[in-house]
Symmetry: C2
Subunit: 332 residues, 2 copies
């Protein structure tokens, strides 16, 4: 085991004010490590970075086709969205098509992260519903599979057929037994793996072919394309996932997870990337994933979406630039 290495530095004037260490792995389709920083075998909870794995059974089972889900819906099924109208309207319609409603979700109510939607709600004296939860697309996917399987309503129970199918897919694509799970913010089980295991899973997605004989492989390819095609549905305006995917022109899928996990799926290169910042800071995971994507040649170093993460100016209340967030010396 090796230690986490410095990945991201936060400067204020001449001072290195804070610093973030982490682990990262770039993996090829055979599961081999192309490059690693820190400890590839560090055990992590992938959190929302695993949503495209959690969506595999939905597609593989035939449920997505049976219910006529569009690619846009599949992208939303892999999303940590902002609860803007483009997200909640689609969830609302999706639930209605299933003959279900907000109360069938089990993700919990969360205020929209989209500023405009949030302020509109406050002005109207409203309160958030479960549809506003950033995971409501994933949960709509869980409900679709639940209905397809004729299973019970408590679909976030770790023993529910939907979660058993997720666990099976998760262990298959990560190439290892999961050491267990934690309960996520949205109440679904979140299976643990290593940074290497998560990168291996992403390499599986990267190398997957929509014309393959294997249903899991077809599902992985379809979900990757859906994410890369609809960046605004996977996160939202101004968010890292959306802006970075737009900057890469639909060629790469990326996804953040809480507590500073980030993954990337590079279909052209057939590479998967996974990283975890040890302290859980999102500002650092966004910077680090951008650095790796630049290094891999798929993200323009001078693109505004890149500069916003890799050389993010820190501005104060008067708009004065007081510091910068940037890649630590020696990393990527």
């Amino acid at each position: 085991m090796s230690h986490a290495i410095p990945m991201v530095d936060v400067w204020r004037g001449p001072f290195l004010e804070s610093t973030h260490v982490g682990h990262a792995v770039v993996c090829d389709a055979s599961g081999h490590i192309v490059q690693a920083w820190g400890d590839a075998d560090a055990v992590i909870l992938p959190r929302s970075s695993t949503k495209m794995i959690q969506a595999l059974p939905l597609v593989e089972s035939g449920a997505a086709d049976a219910f006529g889900l569009t690619d846009a819906q599949l992208a939303l099924g892999c999303a940590s969205h902002e609860g803007a109208p483009i997200h909640t309207d689609m969830v609302s319609k999706w639930l209605a098509e299933l003959g279900l409603s907000d109360s069938d979700l089990r993700c919990g109510a969360e205020a929209p992260r989209d500023r405009k939607a949030k302020h509109a709600m406050i002005r109207a004296g409203g309160s958030p519903s479960q549809m506003h939860n950033n995971c409501s697309g994933k949960h709509s996917g869980f409900l679709t599979l639940t209905k397809h399987l004729g299973a019970g309503t408590e679909y976030v129970d770790p023993a529910h057929p939907v979660q058993l199918a997720v666990k099976d897919a998760f262990e298959d694509v990560t190439g290892m037994d999961s050491p267990g799970f934690g309960i996520d913010g949205c109440s679904a089980p979140n299976f643990g793996t290593t940074v290497h295991g998560l990168a291996r899973a992403m390499a599986f997605f990267a190398a997957a072919n929509e014309g393959a004989a294997d249903g899991r492989e077809r599902a992985a390819a379809k979900l990757t394309r859906a994410m890369a095609t609809y960046p605004e549905l996977v996160a939202g305006q101004g968010r890292a996932c959306t802006e970075l995917m737009n900057a890469m022109g639909g060629n790469v899928a990326v996804k953040t997870g809480a507590e500073a996990v980030f993954i990337a799926i590079l279909p052209e290169q057939k590479l998967g990337v996974a990283l975890k910042i040890v302290d859980g800071a999102t500002r650092a995971s966004e910077c680090a994933i951008a650095a790796i994507l630049v290094k891999l040649g798929v993200l323009e170093p001078k693109h505004p979406a890149t500069l916003k993460r890799m050389n993010a100016p820190i501005k104060n209340w008067r708009g004065i630039e007081t510091g910068i967030i940037r890649v630590a010396d020696g990393f990527a």
Copy 2:
């Protein structure tokens, strides 16, 4: 130099999901280290944890007395407040007494952190003023000293007499030359020091006597008492500084700073404490300062304000307890 040590762990189910390392020093009135963790000589920017030092010239110069400032105003002068009415009303009155207004502040406009005040502002279609800035009390103090000195309006300029006086006081109480400054969120210069230097300054405050011959010492004692007497003015409802000071019954002053700095002033024990979490996470600095205060015997381990920081349950959107933030093994 020694490495930062693990101080705070974030668990989710059976997994150590994230971890925070830091430096901390407990110092006595002679400047000697009573106990240290990590690197006592690590250079840090103390950020808002230095506000009582920045207020020394205000009191020491006679400006506070000349303008009849109350202890409540002095507490607000050391505050990172929430922009609730109890804070902004006092700032508004203070500025009026100086014959000044919001536009004379140089801290910048910041939305109130107080949820009720923020929502009321959104509903009214209003926008934040500089008075809502968490530093507006400190800036009212700067303006009071500016007026007392008959100095120019740009009081956050590092060459302004107010900031020169702050630098002089800062280097005196930290017991060392400052290696320089960064510009803070509120546009004032923020002088660097070491963790030991900051703890030494806090020990000076802790040992200071209001009846002393030395004006700086009298000022330090007065400011400490003001902070400990008015916890709700120093931060606000539900905030760590306010709740921890209330829990310690006015016997100890504590103050947070951005990027995970925290200090404590223990007058009865004549001890000063300073800590910095290397990655800048506030959830960790709040946990670590509580652990040190418990260890020093001034904070009840079972007090709700303590448990909220040292064993903070992580609850998800449905209110399910999914994890806990707690002190790392081997620290404090």
